[in-house]
């Protein structure tokens, strides 16, 4: 009963607003057709579901909590949720906050992520080359703020949703990206003014698969047919591979832990075990560019 009530509340928060400008948070979207549809046919955009609304709500909670922590820690947080507007390119947005430090004011963008994602994000390049397209939109969002606020650098603060740990990733103003974004904004504005649409991008599972305009865009969905093989011997090997996999992971993790504890120990005995160690010189080498086949095995469920 409680869950249903909460779901009802979340559902009531799912809203649709007119889109009259190019939003900084969206301008990095890789599909120009999406961006034009978002301006011209926003009413027909499929509303997101309760699950996604819950994720958005969680994000807002984390953002507020991070800002509160930063303030409690004595940092000077100013201009929270300040709105930006760049009429020439019809770009708008609002920054989470700004950090005033040593006479500088730095735009701040707070993001929360899963533990796995949080672990994988360490430099701004990890966002430029992000595995998911929403990650690749972040540098574009910050670039818009930096251009509109005429600031040389911004700061991302990432929060691990599981542990609460924070990580900061600075981002210097990227003029090349800025140029591209302004050109893109001009293109969108031109399509909107002419009432036309750019062509579909080649079908991309990640971008098109969950697109809220899929039913209007009508892209040709092109996929390679799955091959089903029958090889009982190989199947048995894969089954065994799966049985052993957790043990290998446990071994690797334990190996790392034990070796770290035994570092610099020449010769010791622990219980029934004799442990010896020595420094070994390693010859450096450079891995030449090349390619390799990456195989991923997972269960169907």
């Amino acid at each position: 009963m409680i869950v249903e009530k909460i779901e009802e509340l979340k559902r009531s928060r799912i809203e649709q607003w007119p889109v009259r400008s190019n939003r900084a948070s969206d301008l990095g979207h890789e599909c120009l057709r999406y961006l034009v549809l978002n301006r011209t046919r926003w009413q027909e955009k499929a509303l997101h579901d309760v699950n996604l609304q819950t994720i958005f709500d969680e994000g807002n909670l984390h953002e507020k909590a991070v800002l509160r922590d930063l303030e409690d820690a004595g940092l000077n947080i100013i201009e929270q949720q300040r709105a930006f507007d760049w009429p020439e390119y019809n770009i708008t947005g609002h920054i989470d906050a700004k950090l005033a430090v040593n006479g500088n004011v730095i735009p701040l963008e707070i993001k929360s992520s899963s533990p796995f994602m949080w672990q994988s994000l360490n430099t701004i390049q990890d966002l430029y080359n992000g595995k998911y397209h929403y990650l690749r939109k972040y540098p574009a969002q910050m670039t818009c703020y930096l251009l509109m606020d005429e600031k040389p650098e911004g700061l991302f603060v990432f929060k691990n949703k599981q542990t609460g740990a924070l990580k900061e990733i600075p981002m210097p103003l990227d003029y090349d990206l800025g140029e591209k974004l302004l050109k893109k904004a001009e293109e969108i504005n031109a399509y909107v003014a002419l009432g036309t649409l750019p062509d579909c991008i080649p079908y991309d599972e990640q971008i098109c698969g969950d697109c809220a305009f899929e039913h209007i865009c009508l892209p040709d969905v092109k996929r390679d047919a799955l091959e089903i093989q029958t090889d009982p011997e190989l199947e048995a090997k894969i089954e065994r591979w799966f049985e052993l996999k957790p043990h290998k992971s446990e071994y690797d993790s334990l190996d790392k832990e034990v070796k770290a504890q035994l570092k610099n120990q020449d010769k010791i005995v622990i219980g029934d075990y004799l442990i010896t160690g020595k420094m070994v010189q390693r010859k450096g080498f450079t891995v030449v560019d090349g390619e390799y086949w990456k195989t991923t095995i997972k269960t169907l469920e």
Binding site: E44, L47, E214, H215, D220, V221, I228, L300
Partner: protein, 302 residues
Amino acid sequence: MEEILVKESNGLPALLTSDQLLHIAEQAEARVEALNTIKLVALRTTNPKDWTDHNGKPWLQESGASKVGRLFGVSWTIPDDPVYEQFEDGHFQYTYKAIFSLADISIEAIGTRQSKDGFFNTRYQWDPNKNKKVPFDLPPLEIDKGDVKKAAYANCVERGITTILGIKNLTWEEIEEHTNIKKNQVTSIQYGKSTNKGRKPSPEGQNSFQKAKTQKSKGTPPPKQEKAFVEVMADIEKEFETVDQLDAFQEALRVHQAEWDDKLSAYTYQSIADRDMQEKVYNSLKKYLKTVKEKDKENIKT
């Protein structure tokens, strides 16, 4: 080489060698095996949230169909914009038509949704007299067109994927045998299967169908097609059930101003009193059935 005499029929060659027969049998066996493998792999990709129970039959929803479609590499193309139809009562309908393909097989599928569907137009408000929330219908103008359009698209995708992979008409036994999904874990939807039981047609519903029944009792044998409307509809409903198209049957009822029965969670044909409307629903259902049966035949040939 041993030769087997085969009786000539339908223009087939009179003689087939045993090798040829073996080859055909092997191919058939391989095809059955392939279909079973597809079914098994498809089932294991889904979870309970991907399924609903429609009148005791498992129904793979769009979420599940999309997952399965991605895995198997089902492609599709939608050559034209969806067809938009506006009805006299202000309600509207979207219809998508798409060509689905997998390897060298292609099929056509149609997906339709209407604003009249309870999913889009039923909302609840607090009734202080009854001390509970009661449903009310949203006016057609208030219904989000984007939602209906998107749902029609989803319906088309779901139908296309399940048809091309041959994973329609599954049973709960098959699903429970090959997965951890149980019937009691999924949402159940009951259509008006028993709508003709214990319910009298409204007095306004007296028409040639009913009259024909009265004539019969007086000893004048009526022409075969002149059954009571509810009897005819009960037969048609059975046919729709046989071809796994009960949702289409319900959609037709909705379009033709049938009333929604909360207890049955379904539109009931007994509530269609208007003679013209009865004829319209009857004709459109028959036409639809004919199309579905023809399509099934084509698919079998493919």
